[in-house]
Amino acid sequence: MTAATTGQTGTAGSYPDRTPQRQGRQKTRWRARHRRALVAWLFMLPLLLVNGVVIAGPGIASLYYSFTSWTGVGDAEWVGLANYRRLLSDENFLSAFWHNIWWTIFFLTVPMTMGLLGAYLVSRVRRFQMFFRLAYFIPYIIATVVSAAIWQNILSPEYGIGAQLAKFGIHVLDDVNFLGDGRLALPSVAFVNNWQWWGFLLVVFLAAMQGVNPSLYEAARLDGANAWQEFRYITLPAIRPTVVFLALMTIIWSFLVFDYVYILTRGGPAGATEVLGTLLYTAAFGSHEAGYAAAIGVVMAAISFVVVCGYLVLRRTRGWET
């Protein structure tokens, strides 16, 4: 904005004409602002470059390939929506999709409940709290491949927990094959994944709980609130942003699950633990149907996108960010 446009031209002798000085200051401020922005962008540039190469580029390419019958090498032939139509009638995809939904429900309930409850109980412990925090958090820092191998042995019908109990005359698990029985395989893999995961939730929830104003609890106690009422009416509302955020991430991660399933069962037995991630992998590198695999990937990304949008809407409409 210049002086001419504001009409504040002033008159000679009444006020000194400061327009050039003002313009100079504005220019300086403008330069400083732009310099700060430039520096900020320079800091972000490496990350943007890497994200462009690792995420945006392959993401756009995947979207394109999902409309082709690409084999993974050579030219891609445009097939329109054929891959997406096939998804709707592919029993393996529908089964894997259902397994992901089951997985999401499981991880939204079991570990979240365990994490919340565990964090609340640990928060009330006065002595050795650090010990409990560490004990529950340690599984999270063990490499997936290591913990999967450990649990594979524990669940093995040949030398696992069932076989060890049998040595002591306890035969309750004699006919139980956790990873070989189609009805038990998915819950078993989820159990192993949960063993590693819930301790992390506990620590995050505990950190959030420690930020709750203690005077609220004191006031509640004066009003005669019991432990459950304190948790229900003070703790839970106070840590709601953390709970909602972790629920959001749980949904996204549940649709991206791959590692434990691949290591423990490779989607078997007979597709009983097949999830979208393992199905995509087999389609791309086993059947050489990279176009179809890209369509599965796009669906997975779309689900995450919808979840994030839902979260943002909730934040705005319900004020869940505070």
């Binding site: 084999t71 090498v73 059947s287 050489h288």
Partner: protein
């Protein structure tokens, strides 16, 4: 110009990112070295890797004016990494694949060079067994040569056989009698498991298709003359499923999915399993587990051809398997040198024979004679490769002669038959649907005839 701390930081970050990105192109830079060719490979055991490096790479490099640069990858990731590299116009000069049907994917994408001229110059057609040479052709053009060959056989623990008075089964009746008796004695009749290798199910499907339906029927189906819904295939799958349901394979269906090879091989050596129906690649396992400590001693194992599960199917039938292929990358800067190396690999049957003796190496399908193997070679291993080179009845394994999608279907959906989610008839109908789709798309590799291949 003076650099502020902020600017220095931001420039350093950018430089690091650029350096990281430029590192991505190093693979191609190596390949475009005019005096070297590149080969990516994966090895199950470190001993195999060391032997190959010394005798198949270093030995070549010491006697030639250009170098072979071997890059070792993880077994599970080799094909995935290579596929990604080749798709972007990179990758090694010599391309390895899991078999002709996988090489065909690269051929269809114009990523492999025709090898006919090189084959003629190097005499590859004379060096390789004819079926193996023909398996690398698409139409009349050669695009790949086998990097190993295998066949499905039955391993036995001779001490177990002697103890129970059994002999390796020759017919379906022999087989079923042995399995029933073994189960009665508390043994696992047939070593089987898929926890380590999910596609292991296709080994058994390959066996039953060839040794029940017969190689003529399989050939007819692979060439599109008959559908996979033919009753003979449905019966074959029904029979295999019945063996699993009886608990003969792996001790039961549930156990089959969690059985691990190390545990099974140890039990086999201890005499707890009657038969091991597996590929000839398992020679190395026999050497490892029959060590006199885990179980029986080194002389206690032997092998026999698989039984004929139906009248009219040849008794001395070997299902042929190409364990992998070599081709030349269409983007290679040194195709002549790559071809020279391939010619060298095929040039010496004694060198391969020595590798077989030393590490139970899976040999190239050359024309072997007894004298190609050094005296130290295990007689049982030498016998297989000499018999195989002279055999006249061949079958087809699914991972070599079925196109990729059908191949995945074979083991993935067979697991559903075993768990009762699919009937054998539905399984064969589904296979036919997938196979015909791939056949129309030109994805079925060349199929050598079953006799005199």
């Amino acid at each position: 110009m003076a650099l502020s701390r902020r600017r220095l930081l931001s420039l350093s970050g950018s430089a690091a990112a650029l350096a990281a990105l430029s590192a991505c192109t190093q693979g191609s830079a190596t390949r475009r070295d005019a005096n070297a060719i590149t080969l990516w490979a994966a090895f199950q055991r470190n001993a195999d890797r060391q032997y190959f490096e010394k005798h198949f790479v270093d030995a070549f490099n010491q006697t030639h004016d250009f170098q072979v640069k071997l890059t070792v990858k993880d077994v599970e990731s080799l094909e995935r990494l290579q596929q990604t590299a080749i798709a972007s116009g990179q990758g090694p000069d010599i391309v390895v694949t899991s078999g002709p049907s996988y090489a065909l994917e690269y051929v269809n994408a114009d990523k492999l060079l025709p090898l006919d001229t090189y084959a003629e110059q190097g005499g590859w057609a004379e060096k390789l067994q004819s079926w193996a040479y023909d398996a690398g052709k698409v139409g009349d053009t050669l695009y790949s040569i086998p990097s190993s060959f295998e066949t499905m056989i039955a391993f036995v623990n001779k001490e177990v056989m002697e103890k129970y008075g059994w002999t390796p089964p020759r017919t379906r009746e022999d087989f079923e009698e042995l399995c029933a008796e073994a189960q009665g004695h508390g043994l696992m009749p047939v070593l089987a498991g898929s926890a380590d290798w999910k596609p292991a199910t296709e080994w058994h499907v390959s066996v039953i298709l060839n040794h029940y339906a017969g190689p003529e029927a399989v050939y007819a189906a692979l060439t599109g003359e008959t559908p996979w819904t033919d009753p003979v295939f449905v019966d074959a799958i029904t029979l295999l499923n019945s063996y699993f349901q009886k608990g003969w394979f792996g001790g039961g269906v549930k156990e089959y999915f969690t059985n691990r090879f190390d545990t099974l091989n140890a039990r086999f050596a201890k005499g707890e399993i009657a038969l091991d129906i597996v590929g000839s690649w398992a020679f190395a396992d026999m050497k490892n587990f029959f060590d006199g400590k885990t179980g029986a001693g080194p002389q206690a194992w032997d092998w026999a051809p698989l039984p004929a599960f139906r009248d009219g199917v040849p008794q001395e039938l070997y299902t042929l398997s190409v364990g992998g292929t070599y081709s030349i990358n269409a983007d290679s800067a040194n195709p002549d040198k790559a071809a020279e190396y391939l010619t060298w690999l095929l040039s010496d049957t004694k060198r391969v024979g020595e590798a077989v003796a030393a590490i139970a190496f899976q040999p190239y399908p050359l024309h072997y004679k007894e004298s190609d193997f050094p005296p130290a070679t295990d007689e049982r291993i030498r016998r297989l490769y000499v018999d195989l080179a002279a055999a006249r009845s061949f079958g087809y394994v699914t991972w070599t002669f079925w196109p990729p999608k059908s191949d995945v279907y074979i083991y993935q959906e067979m697991d559903k038959v075993l768990t009762g989610k699919l009937t054998p008839k539905e399984y064969c109908a589904g296979l036919d649907e997938v196979f015909q789709e791939e056949r129309k798309a030109g994805k079925v590799p060349p199929i050598p005839p079953p006799q005199d291949a």
